[in-house]
Point group: C2
C-alpha cells in the first residue's frame, strides 16, 4: 500500500468548518487506498496570538519558554483534526513532537530535526488509523520542547516522509502550486507542473513563499517527491522532484522578488587582509543572516564593502557595523532600506550562456539601475530600487517565460 504524508497549513485548518473539510479530504485519500500521515500547523492566527501574549510580558521573550508557548498551537490542531476524523468514522490518533520523538537540536525557535522514531507511527498505521502529527515542534535530547521556525510544519512533513520512506509528501496550501512568478503582480504568471529541488531552493531563498527552504533541502537530501497543491480544489499542483533531463531545455523556471532586505555599505575602507572577518564575525555572532556581499577594490587602496541583511535586523546590524567601522577606518556607513532583490532561476542556465547578459539588457531598456549582482549556477539576482519591483518582474517574466506553453 502506498504511504502519503499530507501537510495542511494554518489557513487550511483556520476554522472548525475547514478542519471538517480537511478531515473529509483525508478520508477520501484513505479510501482511495493509501496509508495517511497528516501534519498540521496551528489554526491561522493562533501563533500570532500567542506571540503577542509573550510580547505583552517581555520585549525579548526567553526562547525556551516561547517554544513551549508556541507549540500549544499545533497541539490544539492535531486534537481537533483527530476528533473530526473519528466523527467521520475514520480511526485516527494524534501525536505531539515528544510522543513520536521528533528529536531536534536545542536551537529554540529554529531547531533542526535530527531523528524521528517511527515505531508508534508504524504501529498506528498498521491498526488502520490515520496518524495526525503536530508540525513545527520537536524535543531536544533532554525533552525540552523546541520549534522549527517559520514554515516549520513543511519541514516536519518532509522529514516524516523521509524517515517513513513515504511515496510522496503533499503540501496543501492556499495557492494552487508554484508559479513562474507572483500572479499578484504579473497576470501572465503560470503554475509550474514540475520544478527541480535546486530550482525550488533558489526560488524559496529569493522570495517565493510557497515552501520553506529548509523543507526543500530536506526533500532533496532524501529524494522525497513533494507535491504542492491547493486545499480548496482537487487539481494537480506542482511537483518538486529530482532534476530531470528535460528540465535543461527551459532556461528560466521562475522570476522571484524579495523586498525584505536592507543594504549596508561601508565606504572607502582601507583594503587589507582580515577586513571582511572583522565586519562579519560580530554580525554572525548576533545571529544576523547576511545575504549578498560585494566588495570592489578601487585604485587608491580603499574599497567599498556592501552587503544585505533582513530588514528586521538592519538596526541591530547597523549598530555592530558602526562600531566596527571606526576600527577598520571606514570613511562612513550608508544604509538603504528601499531596495528589492529580483532573481531569475532555472537549471537550464547550467548549459546555456547569455542569461545574465539578457537580464541586464532587459532591465537597462527600462532604465532600471542595477545596484548589486549575485549569481549561482542556476540563479542570477540583482538588487534594484524597490519602486521598480513590479516593472522588473513583469519585463523579466515576459522576456524569459512569456506565454510559453507547458511550463
Amino acid at each position: 500500500m502506498s504511504l502519503l504524508v499530507q501537510k495542511y497549513g494554518g489557513t487550511s485548518v483556520g476554522t472548525i468548518e475547514r478542519i471538517k473539510q480537511v478531515a473529509e479530504k483525508v478520508c477520501r485519500a484513505k479510501r482511495a487506498g493509501s496509508e495517511i500521515v497528516v501534519v498540521v500547523s496551528a489554526m491561522a492566527g493562533e501563533t500570532n496570538r500567542l506571540v503577542s501574549l509573550a510580547h505583552e510580558i517581555s520585549e525579548i521573550p526567553d526562547e525556551r519558554e516561547k517554544d513551549v508557548l508556541l507549540a500549544s498551537g499545533e497541539q490544539v490542531s492535531v486534537a481537533l483534526l483527530s476528533l473530526a476524523l473519528k466523527e467521520l468514522g475514520q480511526p485516527a490518533r494524534s501525536f505531539l513532537g515528544h510522543q513520536v520523538r521528533i528529536e531536534t537540536d536545542s536551537a529554540y525557535g529554529r531547531a533542526r530535526i535530527r531523528n524521528i522514531d517511527s515505531t508508534k507511527i508504524v504501529e498506528s498505521l498498521k491498526n488502520g488509523e490515520v496518524v495526525v502529527i503536530a508540525g513545527f515542534q520537536g524535543v531536544d535530547e533532554d525533552d525540552n520542547i523546541t520549534t522549527l521556525g517559520r514554515g516549520g510544519s513543511d519541514t516536519s512533513a518532509v522529514a516524516l516522509a523521509a524517515f517513513l520512506n513515504a511515496d510522496a509528501c503533499e503540501i496543501y496550501t492556499d495557492v494552487e502550486g508554484v508559479f513562474t512568478t507572483d500572479p499578484a503582480i504579473c497576470p501572465e504568471a503560470r503554475k509550474l507542473a514540475r520544478v527541480s529541488y535546486d530550482e525550488m531552493i533558489e526560488l524559496a531563498s529569493t522570495g517565493a513563499k510557497v515552501l520553506e527552504i529548509r523543507s526543500v533541502e530536506f526533500a532533496k537530501k532524501f529524494s522525497v517527491p513533494v507535491h504542492v497543491r491547493s486545499t480548496f480544489t482537487n487539481v494537480e499542483g506542482t511537483w518538486v522532484v529530482k532534476e530531470e533531463e528535460s528540465m535543461d531545455d527551459v532556461l528560466v523556471s521562475g522570476v522571484s522578488y524579495d523586498q525584505n532586505e536592507a543594504k549596508i555599505t561601508l565606504q572607502r575602507v582601507p583594503d587589507r587582509p582580515g577586513l571582511a572577518a572583522q565586519i562579519f564575525s560580530p554580525i554572525a555572532a548576533a545571529h544576523i543572516i547576511v545575504d549578498m556581499i560585494i566588495q570592489n577594490a578601487s585604485e587608491d587602496g580603499t574599497t567599498d564593502l556592501t552587503f544585505t541583511v533582513p530588514k528586521a535586523d538592519y538596526k541591530k546590524a547597523l549598530a555592530i557595523v558602526e562600531k566596527a567601522a571606526a576600527a577598520v577606518k571606514s570613511k562612513g556607513v550608508k544604509v538603504d532600506t528601499d531596495i528589492a532583490k529580483i532573481s531569475v532561476v532555472g537549471v537550464g542556465m547550467r548549459t546555456h550562456a547569455g542569461v545574465a547578459a539578457k537580464m541586464f539588457e532587459v532591465l537597462a531598456r527600462e532604465g532600471i539601475n542595477i545596484e548589486m549582482i549575485s549569481t549561482s549556477e542556476i540563479k542570477i539576482s540583482v538588487v534594484i530600487d524597490a519602486k521598480y519591483t513590479e516593472l522588473a518582474v513583469r519585463v523579466l517574466h515576459d522576456a524569459f517565460i512569456g506565454k510559453r506553453e507547458n511550463v
Copy 2:
C-alpha cells in the same frame, strides 16, 4: 531551606496583568527564603473555549484527543508565567506533564496520579530556578497525554508537594479560604482558620467548591499541610491539616449544599435478593456516580428504591433504570431534579450525640420536609426541595455555628 508548592487557579492567571501579579507574588515568596514550585491552571475561560471547539466537531468527543486538546491550556500558562518571572529577573523553568513524568493511569479525563519523577525539578531548584509546572495534566505509561478532571490542578499541586516532601502546599484562589458556609447565601459565614482533612473531604463532597476532593484525599494520605488562601490579598487563609484534639470541641465546622443532583425512585419493587445489583451494576458500567441510596421495605413485600445521581447524568441514568424497571417488576419510575442536598460536617460529631436530632428539629421548625437522609461518622446530609436551599443553610448555620468566635 523550606520548600513551598504554590498553586494558582484559572482566575489568578486569567489575564497577562494577573500573570504578572502572580509572578511578583512568587518572587516575594522566593526572596523570603523558600524554594518555590508553582503549579498553574489554564487561563480562565480557556478550558471552556477548548471544550466548545471539541463540541463543535463531536457531540461526545473522543476522550484521548480531548485530553490532548485541553492540556494545551496549561501549556500556555506555564510558558507565560515563566516569561513573567524571568522578566522580573527571577530564573524560572516550565515543565509539562511529560517532562517531569507526572505518570497517571490511562483513564482519560479523570486520570489518577501514580508517580512523579522529581529529578528534573530538584535539579532546577538547585540551580536557583522557580519551577513552574502545568497542572491538570500527566502522561500514562505509554506517553499518552491524560488530564485529571475538574479541579485537577489542585491534585497536581498536592501530589507534587507529597512527592517533593514540601513543607506546605498553598492553594491560591479567588476566595479567602474555606468558609463555614457559602457567604453568598449566608452573611454570617466566616472563614475557618483550620479544618481537618476528613472534614474538608466531606465539605468538598457535599458541595463546597473551594478544593477538589481528590486533592484533599491525596493531602491526607501523605500528610501534606494545605493552605487555602486568596491570590489577591496577603491575609492568612484556611489550613487543611491533620485532625487535632481541639477540633473535637467544635460540633459542626461547616454547612454545605449541592443543587447538582437529581433523585430517581423505583416504586413498589418486589423485594428480593439481588435487586440492588440489577439496578446499580448497569449504572456503574455507564460511569454514572450514584451518591445517596435509600431502600425502605414495606409490609406488602415491595420496596421503594431511591437514589441520587449528578443532574448532568440523570437522563442517561433514567434510560438505564427504565430498562431495568421492567425486569425487576417495578410499578413505575419517578424523577425529581428539583432537589438540594444540605449537609452539616464536623469531627466533633464522633464524640457528641444529638447532632442529627437537632438538624431535623431545626428544619422541621421551618416546615422543610426531609426526603432522604444519609450519614457518615462526621457528616449528616439531607435531601430537601431545592426551593428551601437558602433558608435551610441559614437556619442550620445559625443553629450550629452562629456567631461563634475562633472558628
